[in-house]
């Protein structure tokens, strides 16, 4: 390992130059870690806001049918490893009328635990309690504000068949989206069955949440083939959001590629200068019998040491930036992505090694007589 020892000594005897290049790599890697984690966290937050509290796959009755059996929810949970929650729901439309004012409502009836699994309502209540007993209803914050109703109040709704249903508001939720807060409401499954005049085991849809939101298309295809139902996944109904996320990922990748190119050029130019500075020493070593391979490896080791030092410093700096960002007044936090950081580390060291190829080859080709004759 004489090549490593010589490389380390060359770096140690040029501390200013070594520190500069390590700082250059560190800034590049820190940018990688920070921008990568920022974009990843931003996307995760956006996805969570958009689909975190809604079904990722919805099973609907096949053509010619109007309902699905409730047992499909259990079958989904049994057969689909990515399904974390599944609930059979009964959907119906209703109208709230108060004098001249009327507001449409989309009411979803299902088991309290199942609904909570999909929509996370128990954690999003702003008033009242999360209960779905017979004839109880949970309404959104926008609806509550518009109508002035609150927990304990009676709510009369005009049902699709012309009847009027009377319900008691048990709680008010905030799903973070104005449309959902104004138009969505939840009841117990049997309350919805009564409003729709449905049999006990007839449901209008099965709503499923997955551990991997981006697997929804494949899961939907699998469920549609396994069960007699039409499967709709969130990606099919949110194409604009997806193309936005892809554009964001693309621009993030582009920033990272340019940062890497800048880091590579920085290391390559410094190593090239170092190779010229150390030509005399390399010539002396070769005159004493050092082979072309070990002589070339001196610069590979220099690059590896610079890359390792810069990458370690860069990751530390990246974490510091992420920590600093936690104090910024933004509605989401950045989570360092260990996998992404590991990739940045590998890329950082690889770029450093690749940058050393030209000086290493130049060094391995150096003829010692060039140095000895030049005196």
């Amino acid at each position: 390992m004489l090549s490593l020892r010589i490389a380390a000594r060359f770096l140690k005897t040029s501390p200013g130059q070594s520190a500069l290049i390590i700082a250059g790599i560190a800034v590049g890697i820190a940018t990688q870690v920070f921008v990568g984690s920022l974009i990843t966290s931003l996307q995760a937050d956006l996805i969570d806001t958009t689909v975190g509290s809604s079904p990722h796959v919805t099973l609907l009755p096949p053509d010619g049918e109007t309902t699905l059996p409730g047992s499909y929810a259990e079958r989904v949970l049994d057969s689909e490893p990515l399904a974390t929650d599944a609930v059979a729901v009964r959907d119906f439309s209703a109208i709230y009328a108060d004098g001249d004012e009327s507001l449409p409502l989309s009411v979803k009836g299902g088991g309290a635990a199942g609904i909570d699994g999909i929509y996370g309502l128990s954690g999003r209540l702003v008033e009242g309690a999360y209960t779905l007993a017979d004839d109880e209803i949970l309404v959104g914050a926008g609806f509550a504000e518009a109508t002035g109703v609150g927990p304990g109040d009676e709510l009369s709704l005009l049902l699709p068949d012309g009847r009027t249903g009377a319900y008691v508001v048990s709680g008010v939720f905030d799903l973070g989206a104005a449309a959902a807060n104004e138009r969505l409401a939840f009841t117990a499954a049997q309350t919805a069955a009564a409003a729709l005049g449905l049999e006990t085991d007839a449901y209008s849809a099965i709503e499923v949440q997955l551990s991997d939101v981006f697997a929804s298309t494949e899961v939907a295809e699998r469920l549609a083939s396994e069960l007699d139902a039409v499967a709709v996944d969130w990606q099919a109904t949110n194409e604009e959001l997806l193309s936005g996320l892809q554009a964001q990922s693309g621009s993030s990748a582009m920033i990272q590629v340019f940062v890497l190119v800048a880091v590579a050029l920085g290391i390559a130019s410094t190593l090239a200068i170092s190779a010229v500075q150390k030509t005399r020493q390399i010539g002396i070593l070769k005159a004493m019998g050092m082979g072309d391979g070990p002589a070339g490896r001196i610069f590979l080791w220099q690059a590896a040491l610079l890359g390792a030092g810069g990458t370690t410093g860069g990751i530390a700096l990246g974490y510091a930036l992420i920590w600093g960002f936690s104090f910024a007044p933004v509605p989401f936090s950045i989570r360092p992505e260990p996998q992404f950081i590991a990739i940045s580390a590998v890329v950082g060291i690889s770029v450093a090694l690749a940058s050393s190829v030209i000086p290493a080859r130049k060094t391995s080709r150096l003829d010692p007589i060039e140095v000895i004759q030049s005196g």
Binding site: T13, I284, L285, K286, A287, M288, G289, M290, P294, P368
Partner: protein, 240 residues
Amino acid sequence: MAERAPLLVADALEKVYGSGDIATRALKGVSFTLEAGEFASIVGQSGSGKSTLLNLLGLLDTPTSGVVRYNGEDTGALKPSGRAELRNGLIGFVFQFHYLLPEFSVWENMVMPRLIAGVAVNDAERRRGEELLHLLGLAGLGDKNANQLSGGQKQRVAIGRALMSEPELILADEPTGNLDSSNSEAVYELFRRVNAERGTTFLIVTHDRRIAQQTDRILEVLDGELVQDVPNDYRSAEKD
């Protein structure tokens, strides 16, 4: 019993720099043989081609034509790695300039050829190294950085480096050019001692006939040709 091949054979060595009208023939067919254990010198005026000859013999440069043989082996057939191995294992160099590595200590410079060979330096070698430093007037300077020494001290470290790896042959190009007369005398005494005790072969390039007079054999190069190759009778008589 097969006769042992000479340590070094230079056979019709030619070196031409440039080509066409500007071609310069630095060496014009130099041939001689050096047996193991000899203490010889090459003399000649500045520009006569003696350093070029030494570079060819040290496998630092390749001849335009002719052959350099070590222990019967044609070095022209060797790959660069084979030439590097021979330089490291068989030859010790002392150049006109010290060529020390300024990033390393005196001791590290001394053992660098051993480190290049991948040999760990043991206690016995360390003791020998300390003795060499003492003989070269460098006692106690082993841990100093090579850059902290004077020019003369650096040249003596370079001599120590050549001797440290105990090569079969020492090729020295004006080794004492930067030393005062007393240090120069001490170095030649050391060379002589190593030659006598270990049988190390010495080939010393010099333009100073007084130094050449201290060797057993004198080869004279003039305008790229070997014009004289004679035993040093004065020295022989002195030994008798």
